[in-house]
């Protein structure tokens, strides 16, 4: 067992790193490399892979210390899929060689990752996906179409789930790969959404060769591996504590305060009801992060994601109604490629439209309710007519 590292040791290590690599004179990438190599990147990762095997709860304090010293960060919002989904999966299922190869450039932001899971024919029912991977010598040959892929146009790597055996029931015939987005046969097209912009892409895969050395987990174990990715996705979407009136409710409250002419007594109680609901959701997220820090992970993550989707939709809807004539206008329908989604800084119409995606992306609200009902409350599962049927015989 390695010696335990105390909070004090950790602070010393951070100060030592900052002293040896002055953020003021060190290049951004050099600093990030040094931070990773010192085990001060993601503290809960193992030594040698950017961490020190410490509790997750210590991370915020470390981030604060680096930020206070003016150190560059790894732009976490730009590499969220790598950090939040690809990395834990590689850590959990990758070989030593795979971990050494991918985790460092991932954390340092040198290589962007994307996720090739959803397909036009496989949304909530992800395990029914149809993209095929066929073994050919030391490679797999991949054909199919993926959709709703953020950052595909900037990504170097993708995590991919593909069907390697169509003759067994759907969950059993899947395998998990890492795909090189610069390989021949990968075509990325923007997918324009109802807001006018394109955050996401469609990815067409035509005879793309993936070396077997880029497989994560055993052949046929892809569903199990994907569960790790998806669990981490929900933690990423739902979690976090924020100050009061952050997010959409703050925008709505400001509109009410700053524009007395739009105040309508008939909408007042609705405004306060939503204010209370937003505050309740905020405190619940705060309680969830306290639970996680205390090592009591709860199923509140799914609940938080469900609650925020519903709240965002109701708040943005009321905002449009409240604004009246202003609500008739839209800022810009130009097709653009935003790197991050922000509800603030766009017109109310954008907020209303973008919030519609909140109850679809990362698990629809209906699926989340099924999950809560079945896994938390222990209610009977949905009737599965496809359970024992070979994937190739399922109606599609």
């Amino acid at each position: 067992m390695p010696p335990l590292i105390t909070q004090h040791d950790l602070e010393n290590r951070i100060q030592d790193l900052l002293a040896a690599h002055d953020p003021g004179t060190t290049s951004r990438l050099d600093f990030l490399h040094a931070r990773f190599d010192a085990g001060l990147a993601w503290l809960h990762y193992p030594p040698g892979l950017g961490g020190l095997g410490l509790p997750r709860g210590l991370q915020p304090a470390a981030e604060k210390a680096f930020a206070a010293a003016g150190a560059p960060d790894n732009e976490p919002q730009r590499i969220g899929i790598g950090l939040g989904m690809a990395a834990p999966t590689i850590l959990g299922f990758g070989s030593d060689e795979q971990k050494q190869r991918w985790l460092r450039p991932l954390w340092c932001g040198e290589q962007v990752w994307c996720q090739l899971f959803s397909e036009p024919g496989a949304g909530s029912d992800l395990a029914a996906l149809a993209t095929r991977a066929v073994r050919d010598g030391e490679d797999w040959v991949v054909n199919g179409q993926k959709v709703w892929t953020s950052m595909a146009h900037e990504a170097r790597w993708a995590i991919l789930v593909a069907r390697t055996d169509p003759d067994v029931p759907k969950h059993q015939g899947l395998t998990y790969f890492v795909l090189d987005m610069s390989a021949p046969g990968v075509e990325v097209r923007p997918l324009r959404q109802l807001t006018g912009e394109a955050e996401f892409n469609e990815v067409f895969l035509t005879d793309v060769r993936v070396p077997d050395s880029q497989r994560l987990g055993a052949v046929g174990e892809g569903w199990k591996v994907a569960q790790t990715t998806l669990m981490n996705e929900r933690v990423a979407i739902g979690g976090g504590a924020a100050p009061r009136e952050s997010g959409m409710i703050g925008v709505l409250a400001s509109a009410w305060r700053e524009q007395p002419e739009v105040r309508d007594p008939a909408l007042h109680d609705r405004l306060l009801t939503l204010w209370v609901a937003a505050e309740a959701a905020r405190l619940t997220a705060m309680r969830l992060s306290a639970q996680l820090a205390a090592g009591q992970p709860g199923p509140e993550g799914s609940a938080a994601k469900y609650a925020f989707a519903s709240l965002n939709q109701q708040i943005s809807s009321l905002e449009l109604e409240l604004l009246g004539e202003q609500g008739l206008r839209y800022d810009d329908w130009t097709m653009r490629r935003p790197e991050t989604v922000s509800f603030v800084g766009r017109s109310p119409g954008y907020r209303y439209l973008r919030a519609k995606g909140n109850s679809i992306e990362g698990g629809t609200s209906e699926i989340l309710l099924n999950i809560i009902a079945e896994r938390v409350l222990g209610l009977p599962g949905e009737i599965r007519v496809d359970k024992d049927v070979a994937w190739k015989d399922l109606p599609r």
Partner: protein, 373 residues
């Protein structure tokens, strides 16, 4: 701050002690039977809870024989009492205790009188209640119909006579002492010196009464109503936890029932029409826990906001849980013999008690600067 939203180990121990006692002594069948008896309050249970476990003296400082605990511990007790819809005067007693504590700290009254009463409450010798309608919210500038004569008192400035009427008072029936707001001050009146008339109430497990004062002797406790406002705020904070407990219990029994009840050859809990509503209720309850914990963990101006949020949210969640409990039990849920109605009646009453959700939202509008017009 966020750790305060969790439960501490001593809080869990207190919860377990109360839960064990209630499982033993307040099974719902006996709670139901008592509602039609001559003794709507379970005074024996209250003695054990109050004196034995020390629930009555939770907030009372240790030097006066209490536990010196905070609202957080009281809230955990309230959760368990809400789960059992137990007919004990916990909330009324807590309100009176909070008032005495606030009066003691205000320095604007008779500290010795407050100390003496707090000692008796902690020892389980006496139970006190505040003579104010149960529906009063913490924000109201209270104007009662009890007046003081003669004014100013001629012989002893601490002695006065009270005359007038207060309606729909909670937990005053089993009380020995009444704390009575009258003419801008708060007086202590022996319950025996007032005429208490039980009211037929919607919530049969918490019987209210109307109180008539006819030249009743009173001792002045505090000048001004500030301690009253603080007491009602504390009570509203703790009530949110009672509502949380009630909602949890409704969800639990309903989930158990829909797993066993079969129609059309399937457990009714396998239908999404019920599954999704129960999941939504669970989400609401998870939120209720966070806001209820926050209400009993915050202080000062922040507590005023936190309590308004908790009351607006938890009142609605408790009612929703109880209504779903009745509906998802189908026919049996509509009968007298099933406990669902006890929860429905308590939930609806509790949502009105200490201010309705709409009232608390209106208060919030002032507190967070979102005026109606």
């Amino acid at each position: 701050m966020s750790e305060a939203l969790l439960y501490s180990e001593p809080e869990e121990e207190l919860r377990a002690a109360v839960a064990d006692l209630l499982a033993d002594r307040a099974a719902w069948a006996s709670v139901l039977a008592r509602t039609e008896s001559a003794e709507p309050y379970d005074t024996e249970l209250w003695k054990t809870l109050g004196g034995g476990i020390g629930v009555a003296g939770l907030l009372v400082p240790e030097e006066l024989g209490g536990a010196g605990a905070s609202l957080r511990e009281a809230a955990v007790v309230a959760e368990e009492l809400g789960k059992a819809v137990a007919p004990v005067p916990f909330l009324g007693s807590l309100t009176a205790t909070a008032l005495l504590l606030a009066a003691r700290e205000s320095g604007n009254g008779t500290a010795a009188l407050a100390d003496d009463l707090l000692r008796r409450i902690a020892a389980g010798e006496q139970t006190a209640a505040v003579a104010i309608p149960f529906s009063r919210s913490p924000d109201t500038t209270y104007r009662g119909r009890v007046s003081v004569t003669p004014w100013p008192p001629r012989e002893d400035p601490h002695e006065a006579r009270l005359t007038g009427r207060v309606t729909s008072v909670a937990d005053a029936l089993p009380a020995d002492v009444l704390l009575v707001p009258a003419d801008g001050s708060i007086y202590v009146v022996r319950a025996a010196d007032a005429q208490r008339t039980p009211v037929t109430t919607l919530d049969m497990t918490q019987v209210l009464c109307d109180i008539e004062f006819d030249d009743a002797p009173g001792q002045i406790l505090a000048i001004g109503y500030a301690p009253l406002a603080q007491a009602l705020l504390s009570a509203a904070a703790v009530l949110a936890s009672e509502q949380l407990g009630l909602a949890e219990q409704c969800l639990k029994t309903t989930v158990e029932y829909v797993k066993t009840r079969h129609q059309f050859g399937r457990a009714v809990g396998s239908y999404q029409g019920l599954k999704h509503r129960l999941a939504q209720l669970w989400v609401q309850i998870a939120q209720a826990r966070a806001v209820a914990r926050y209400a009993v963990s915050s202080s000062g101006d922040e507590q005023v906001i936190a309590v308004a949020v908790a009351q607006a949210h938890c009142s609605a969640v408790a009612v929703q849980a109880a209504e779903e409990c009745v509906q998802m039990h189908g026919g049996i849920g509509f009968t007298w013999e099933h406990p669902a109605h006890l929860y429905l009646k308590r939930a609806k009453s509790a949502s009105i008690a200490l201010g309705s959700p709409a009232r608390h939202r209106r208060r919030l509008a002032e507190l967070v600067d979102l005026p109606a017009s």
